[in-house]
Subunit: 533 residues, 2 copies
């Protein structure tokens, strides 16, 4: 490592650590940028794999987004590439269920999807944040057409079975009223002098003005029933046209009622960077992404290949697999290098000769339990009756949320909504333990507490419990901070001739972007080793 | 009027007034509902014009949305209908400019739109709130395909030329940081006992918990630089994949800086009921709506008809007009009834024999001054460089806002954005006074302070100043509360054989929904008069 003048006495790492301790991580990041150490990850435009790999071969395990990204780029860089894939399709968790599809989960239960033409559910990933640059770049490059995904819908419901007599409340009402009450409280104590000493007099004046604007307060800094608050929270009677058209405001919900309902808990969810507007989804189903990759690298994929052993020596890697169409068969594939994207939940059960630290890392990460249920209804009553166009309703019932389709708006006809989406916790395990038809039945029963129309309009459903998925045994890597500290770097290091990739080898677990960025980082380092070796 | 038992001593109006005074307008509205008086306006499903009009004829003035709604429904109800329209196209302010279109404003300046194929700007209305039920119902009925319109984009900019050295800030940062600071302040004074007496102890406990969640506060109720706050406001370095992928938080903006910047002022804007998610636009341009109506009633429209006089007696209505293709010509059209949708800005200059109260109402409403400028760029740099997909950036510069297209996301290629959108105030008048090319030039100059890419990427532009529009002389009716009190009902009453309709005869001025609801209300009352007369 080169020395940098005055910094000569300290290693870069020591220096950065010092800066971090004294000035905070943002300052450290600035320093890292100056030293050219920052932004080692993150998408920075098309990956550049320069230099001749001289005919080196790479065996890729898994034809999900990580595996196919690696295949696409490595072949283009001059490698001989082969992919082994367990499923009979590409995409992995990038997967869409449509009418006619069948799915057999662990335990043997097989479901046939009975959705009408054009309707679908995405059991795995389903939405794309605007800052997932790597994924967006591949969508652009591979011609995947995107449309907005609605996450926050102000007219969707927040529901607690224990509050407001079980009656769902509109997001816009809880959101506006909570903000209004908070603004009123802070304005009043400001006027009483409670901020003296902490906020300058001049800032207090501006704060009052800002609270009045932001909180929809009146001239006395009160948040109350008025046409002004209605302009934010909605009306009891909307403004109309012609005679008798004057609007009527609704009555704000009291702060005490919002607090005790717990419904404020969902507001933070909507504000997350990962969920902020503008989000996207591919037109036609999330698997349009996997299919677009497969158009590029499909010729490299061997389907129905169940990996049973990964062996390496200093010359190369040999992978043993079973052809699933030919049970008991033993096949082998070899290459100079291996990019393994098999989920850790499965990889931890496969014999692989890697270093002890990598083996420990492979075994250190439990997988998220998640259940999604897609429900088809005779009509899009959520749009027609409730004016809910896309977005998510949250509930304290075991289904956790109901998400409405972000496509085909205002056209009428049938629709499929996501009638249950659990993420860890007892509800997830309970739904996983049920037979698929029971999951669907429960989703309809619970959902009808929020949308009574369910009972008349329901037609059919399909349920995916990720812990019963034969190809992942879980939804996504569930890292704790402690596990990351101990194992993450060991997981990502190139181990001899093997490098791992996938959402589990990223800081964006469960997101497609994590799989892609992990893959780009892994193949960049692998390529550097190959061309410098 | 029937008496209602105990209410016999009071008129309904007196009763309602009493309830309103003592219990607030929401309670009054409940009472009105009980008495069957509420929801006289608002869209309640397809209009029902029952009863035989026995060959009665209606002359409709104006083929905008109000006029065409009236024509569609009245013909279907059995009326003989004719429409006179000043322009050579239907739609009125429901209007889209595309490459090849020309537009001549008052004063004679003619612009030719030079946008590339597929690009457009909507000079008038451009977005549809989810609760504009009437408009949504006609879109459904007439087969207008909708797509989401992005209003709030968390990654768009808030810009003040006087703050942060003129550097635009991201909406997500201002929004999250302001909420965080407010939460912290209120949490701290709550802990100090400042809410004692106003909020119960138990509610204070819950409030603290809610503020911590909503404001992204830490365990000590502080809002500070951390990965937790970054999960809401965004990161200095986003999380990535593989090695070196750990995220780095950014530093929150100090409350004092947010307050003095005035950027908080735009946050309320995003929260308005009229601007909340989910909003819509027609695929292909707003005029898809006008065109869809014109497919139904185009055969009834006489284009290029400039109304100069509207006369009525107890037998019918006679309208004098000039054929604009034949200057100086004098033509007449007659019918039993007239639905006049001519904007008041123009109607007030036309001879019409209506009652003094209606004449006074026609003269009482000034029109909004508004300017829109569409700018075409060689590439969609706002997406490619700045990750801004749709939505609005607000600025204190005279252009007021920049709105990015809500369609064609992530595809690359050229794009048209709305580079200026003023609404009343001196900026609007100043832009209106300029020649069109000067408006475009200024929009590019101002906009380049927010997007420096403007200078290299700009190709061409077009500017519409509504006060110079020959067919409206302004953007929309600009009612004050006082004017409404005095004149609104007089404007909407059927006057002899004439009834007015349009956004100006609604409580939703400037919105397409106002035009449609006004029209439905007007023709419903007109029809009642016809069949009962």
């Amino acid at each position: 490592m080169q020395h940098d003048g005055a910094l000569a006495g300290l290693s870069r790492r020591q220096l950065l650590s010092l800066i971090g301790l004294t000035a905070g991580t943002a300052a450290m990041y600035q320093a890292m940028s100056s030293l050219g150490l920052a932004q080692e990850s993150g998408y920075k435009g098309p990956v550049k794999l320069e230099g001749d790999p001289k005919g080196a071969s790479v065996l890729i395990l898994g034809a999900g987004l990580a595996g196919m990204t690696a295949a696409l780029e490595l072949r283009q860089a001059g490698y001989k590439v082969q992919i082994l894939e367990y499923n009979e399709r590409a995409g992995g968790r990038n997967w869409t269920l449509r009418g006619g599809d069948t799915y057999t989960e662990l335990g043997g239960a097989t479901q046939k999807c009975e959705f009408d033409e054009g309707l679908y559910i995405n059991p795995g990933p389903w939405r794309i944040p605007y800052h997932h640059n790597g994924l967006l770049a591949y969508c652009r490059r591979l011609g995947v057409t995107l449309e907005p995904f609605q996450q926050l819908n102000h007219n969707a419901f927040l529901h607690s079975s224990k509050a407001f007599g079980g009656k769902p409340q509109r997001v816009r009402e809880i959101k506006t009223d909570f903000r209004g009450h908070v603004s009123e409280l802070l304005a009043k104590v400001t006027q009483k002098g409670a901020l003296e000493g902490d906020v300058t007099r001049q800032d207090q004046e501006m704060l009052l003005e800002a609270l009045r604007s932001w909180g929809a307060l009146d001239k006395d800094y009160a948040y109350r029933e008025s046409l002004h608050t209605a302009e934010f929270r909605g009306f009891a009677k909307d403004p109309g046209g012609g005679l008798g058209a004057a609007p009527v405001p609704g009555k704000p919900i009291a702060l005490a009622d919002i607090l005790s309902s717990g419904l404020w808990d969902s507001l933070a969810n909507f504000a997350l960077y990962e969920f902020q507007t503008t989000m996207f989804q591919p037109v036609g189903g999330i698997d349009m992404i996997g299919k677009a990759f497969a158009r590029e690298v499909g010729d490299l994929i061997q389907y129905g290949a169940k990996v049973t052993r990964i062996a390496q020596d200093d010359k190369g890697v040999t992978v043993t697999y079973e052809e699933t169409r030919n049970p008991g068969s033993t096949k082998q594939a070899s290459a100079d290098w291996c990019v393994c994207t098999i989920p850790l939940s499965i990889l931890s059960q496969i014999e692989i000769n890697v270093s002890a630290p990598m083996q420990a890392a492979i075994e250190a990460v439990p997988y998220v339990s998640s259940v999604k249920v897609g429900l088809q209804f005779k009509r899009r009553f959520w749009e027609e009756d409730d004016l809910i166009f896309g977005g998510v309703s949250y509930t304290d019932l075991p289904i956790t949320q109901i998400s409405y389709p972000s496509t085909g708006f205002n056209k009428g006809g049938k629709g499929v909504l996501l009638g249950c989406y659990t993420w860890n916790g007892p509800n997830s395990y309970e739904f996983t333990s049920m037979a698929p038809e029971e999951r669907v039945k429960r989703a309809v029963e619970y959902g009808s507490q929020i949308h009574p129309q369910y009972k008349d309009e329901f037609e059919n459903g399909i349920a995916v419990a990720w812990h019963r998925s034969p190809f992942t045994l879980g939804c996504a890597g569930d890292w704790t901070d402690e596990a990351r500290k101990e194992h993450y770097d060991n997981l990502c290091q190139i181990d001899g001739r093997i490098v791992l990739a996938g959402e589990h080898a990223s800081y964006i677990p469960a997101w497609m972007e994590g799989a892609i960025l992990s893959s780009l980082d892994a193949i960049t380092r692998l390529h550097q080793r190959v061309v410098s070796g």
